[in-house]
């Protein structure tokens, strides 16, 4: 394979358009172009995944040593929560209750995480069957939550405003966590870690709604104070 024009092209002394025009009438350069296309096609075929199933665990461990930490689930949506609370009357801002609620949320988040950590398996990816089971469980929670919401949310209107704020805050926080998990799962549905966070959040939401209902059962007196 020899052509002076090809050598010029390879040295970068000839631009592609000029070389193409030349190649139209030169069998050597036409062959070179065909080989280039083949090289590119062979290279694209290397776009196969390289598996490294335990790599994240190694990275996670080294990041932990470097000082990175598990997300404090309850803390994250606070900025968003503050914005949302703007739609309530301004007197919410001066409630002494807010720092206590924030502290509660932090403790709650850490509690959920450590509670899960002690019982959850450490595998990163769920097998298909396990994934189907987990999704079924999530759907069961969602149904239970819908039923509870129908009863609990109207009853919240009868509570003292401080209570409304407490439960609203907790529910908004949990909803934000559920939303975050769903976004992460949209990218990677088989991620066991995120699934565990989601199940925990759903369970927590169910418990909060059940708590609202049990308050009403014990004390039917409306607009009570904390």
């Amino acid at each position: 394979m020899s052509c002076k024009e090809l050598e010029r092209y390879d040295r970068g002394e000839m631009d592609e358009a000029e070389f193409m025009r030349h190649a139209a009438s030169c069998p050597v350069c036409r062959e070179a172009l065909q080989l280039d296309e083949e090289v590119m096609s062979l290279s694209e075929s290397l776009r196969k995944p390289v598996k490294a199933p335990h790599l994240w665990r190694r990275i996670e461990e080294s990041l932990r040593k470097e000082g990175a930490e598990e997300p404090q689930l309850a803390q994250e949506p606070q900025a968003e929560m503050k914005q949302k609370s703007g739609r309530f009357s301004s007197r919410w801002k001066i409630l002494r209750f807010v720092p206590a609620a924030a502290a509660f949320l932090v403790v709650f988040g850490i509690g959920v995480y450590f509670g899960l950590k002690s019982s959850a398996p450490s595998s990163g990816l769920l097998a298909q069957k396990a994934l189907a089971r987990v999704e079924k469980k999530e759907q069961e929670y969602m149904r239970a939550i819908k039923d509870l919401e129908k009863q609990a949310l109207p009853q919240m209107a009868d509570l003292n405003l401080d209570f409304v704020f407490l439960y609203r805050t907790r529910l908004e926080t949990i909803d934000a966590q559920i939303e975050q998990c769903r976004e992460a799962l949209a990218l990677n549905p088989a991620n066991a870690h995120i699934r565990r966070y989601l199940i925990a959040a759903l369970q927590e939401k169910k418990d909060i709604l059940a708590e609202v209902l049990s308050l009403e059962d014990k004390d039917t007196k409306p607009r009570r104070s904390i």
Binding site: V39, S43, W56, L63
Partner: protein, 174 residues
């Protein structure tokens, strides 16, 4: 979740955010590192090192830069570090380092081996372009070189690989 939000969470030291980054980049990272280094274990080490460097340096990241370019730059530098550490005779000299993968006197039977034999920077350019589908401008950002240099480097890589393929075809015929 928006990448900027994830980056902000990374800056706060949130492990889950790092996990999200990992899940987004795991496949191209492992492929690129493997093509750069030719060994699975070293490729994994380079990816791990990338995350450590990301954690240490994420506060310096500014949103004006493309995050993918920023993080790939760290990966490629981690690969260069591995190559540098390998053995004294292996250097980043473009005309020598590639020989580690496949001595030029030995025949190369596959495109993998032919790519592995390219000099380091040429290999990085070519892998990002032909395997990962990066644009030349993105490669220039990753490798911190001019777009013209990227263009020329890819061109030379193609010419080398074409020569290999042509020789390989002739060998098959004989």
């Amino acid at each position: 979740m928006d990448e900027e939000v994830i980056i902000e969470k990374c800056k706060q030291g949130d492990l889950m955010a790092y996990r999200m980054i990992y899940e987004r980049y795991e496949k191209p990272f492992l492929r690129t590192a493997f093509r750069m280094l030719g060994r699975q274990q070293e490729a994994e080490d380079a990816v791990q090192d990338t995350f450590l460097k990301l954690h240490r340096g994420i506060h310096h990241y500014r949103s004006g830069t493309r995050f993918s370019s920023y993080i790939f730059r760290i990966l490629i530098n981690s690969c260069y570090d591995v190559l540098r550490k390998r053995s004294p005779e292996v250097s980043l000299d473009p005309d020598k380092a590639g020989e580690y993968h496949q001595p030029s006197s030995e025949p190369r039977h596959s495109i993998k081996e032919a790519i592995a034999a390219l000099p380091d920077q040429m290999r990085a350019c070519f892998v990002l372009f032909a395997v990962e589908g990066f644009k030349q401008e993105e490669i220039a950002e990753v490798l911190e070189i001019k777009v013209g240099t990227v263009k020329a480097t890819i061109h030379w890589a193609k010419a080398r690989l074409r020569t290999w393929l042509s020789a390989s075809r002739k060998e098959e015929k004989e």
